[in-house]
């Protein structure tokens, strides 16, 4: 930041620009710090994104869509379920078990907050 401030000073931008840069950098720092770590992880972000455009997806559909393994999908969907971001329903179709996932209201808000964060980070880094 000091280097940035001195660079701004060298180009004659003055204290106002320096203050703006500092504010933007602070916003970037705050934005990065307050990121939702639960959906920041790639596979969990993919699960939430996929469910945001489909009312219900089964385990098999999600696995195929995200090209992942049973174990990975189970672990990460459990974390999202524990956080209340997705709801899981286990049923039987004949004798075959069927696990269905859907995004909860809280999960949708979390995705929206995450998107807002990303956009804010982009704006802040641009203005910095």
């Amino acid at each position: 930041m000091a280097a940035r401030s001195s660079a701004a000073g060298k180009h004659g931008a003055g204290p106002r620009v320096v203050a703006q840069n500092e504010t933007a950098a602070a916003a970037v720092g705050a934005g990065a710090a307050s990121l939702d770590r639960i959906i920041h992880e790639r596979l969990r972000l993919a699960i939430v994104s996929a469910l945001s455009v489909n009312p219900i997806l089964t385990f098999a559909e999600l696995k195929k869509l995200l090209s992942t393994t049973d174990g990975n999908l189970s672990v990460h969907s459990r974390k999202l379920e524990d956080a209340g971001y997705i709801a899981v329903e286990k049923k039987f179709e004949g004798r075959m078990p069927r696990t269905e996932y859907r995004l909860t209201v809280s999960g949708r808000s979390a995705l929206e907050r995450y998107l807002t964060h990303m956009e804010a980070l982009i704006r802040a880094t641009r203005s910095a």
């Binding site: 972000l45 996929a50 455009v53 990303m118 980070l121 982009i122 641009r126």
Partner: protein, 203 residues
């Protein structure tokens, strides 16, 4: 004292801006892959249905097979323009691109039966078999919508199957029913399914 050098040269750290952009791209890509194309325009379907009724009426009053064919070909181009226009409008309103992956998949799945229908139209017209065209159009349009509908909301393949059933009826029906069947299909089915799509899938 010498300067400390890292054992392995490290890559430049990725900036926050690039990470954020990459995350947004990832979310968009995942949504596009997972989503069905919902820019099938319900309102557009209603408008196409209405124009098809006029076309059926005009075709019924036509002087001969040549005039009859011109009326329906004109209606096909008009319906295409209306469908594309309303799809673009609906996609724009939803903040999506009409050229998104789901739309491209929808179009690529729908195109082969439609192209086959256009070529068969030329062939059957040249062979003097214009009376076969209603069944061919209804069947191939139905096949196209059913195939494209695999990448769309569930009601779209149902619409395709309805056209296929009507096409099957047209195969067995007498030639004098042609305009009525085309009016029922391109008019009635578009109006009915257009209304459902407009009501339940955002316009």
């Amino acid at each position: 004292m010498g300067a400390v050098r890292p054992i392995r040269p490290t890559a430049e750290p990725i900036g926050l801006h690039d990470q954020a952009m990459d995350n947004l791209r990832f979310i968009r890509h995942t949504m596009e892959n997972a989503g069905s194309f919902t820019a099938v325009p319900g309102v557009g379907g209603i408008v196409v249905g209405a124009t098809a009724f006029f076309a059926a009426f005009a075709a019924h009053l036509s002087a001969g097979p040549r005039h009859w064919l011109f009326v329906w070909i004109g209606e096909a181009f008009l319906a295409l323009a209306i469908g594309l226009g309303f799809s673009a409008r609906k996609a724009r309103r939803a903040g999506n691109s009409l050229l998104s992956r789901p739309f491209r998949r929808f179009v690529f799945a729908m195109a082969p039966p439609i192209v086959a229908g256009a070529l068969l139209t030329v062939m059957l017209n040249n062979a003097g078999l214009v009376r076969c065209l209603p069944a061919v159009w209804l069947l191939l349009y139905g096949a196209g919508v059913a195939c494209g509908g695999a990448f769309s909301v569930r009601i779209v393949p149902v619409m395709g199957l309805s056209f296929l059933v009507l096409g099957a009826v047209a195969v067995l029906a007498p030639a004098v029913w042609s305009d009525a069947l085309l009016a029922f299909g391109f008019g009635g089915l578009h109006l009915f399914f257009g209304w459902i799509i407009a009501r339940h899938y955002g316009g």
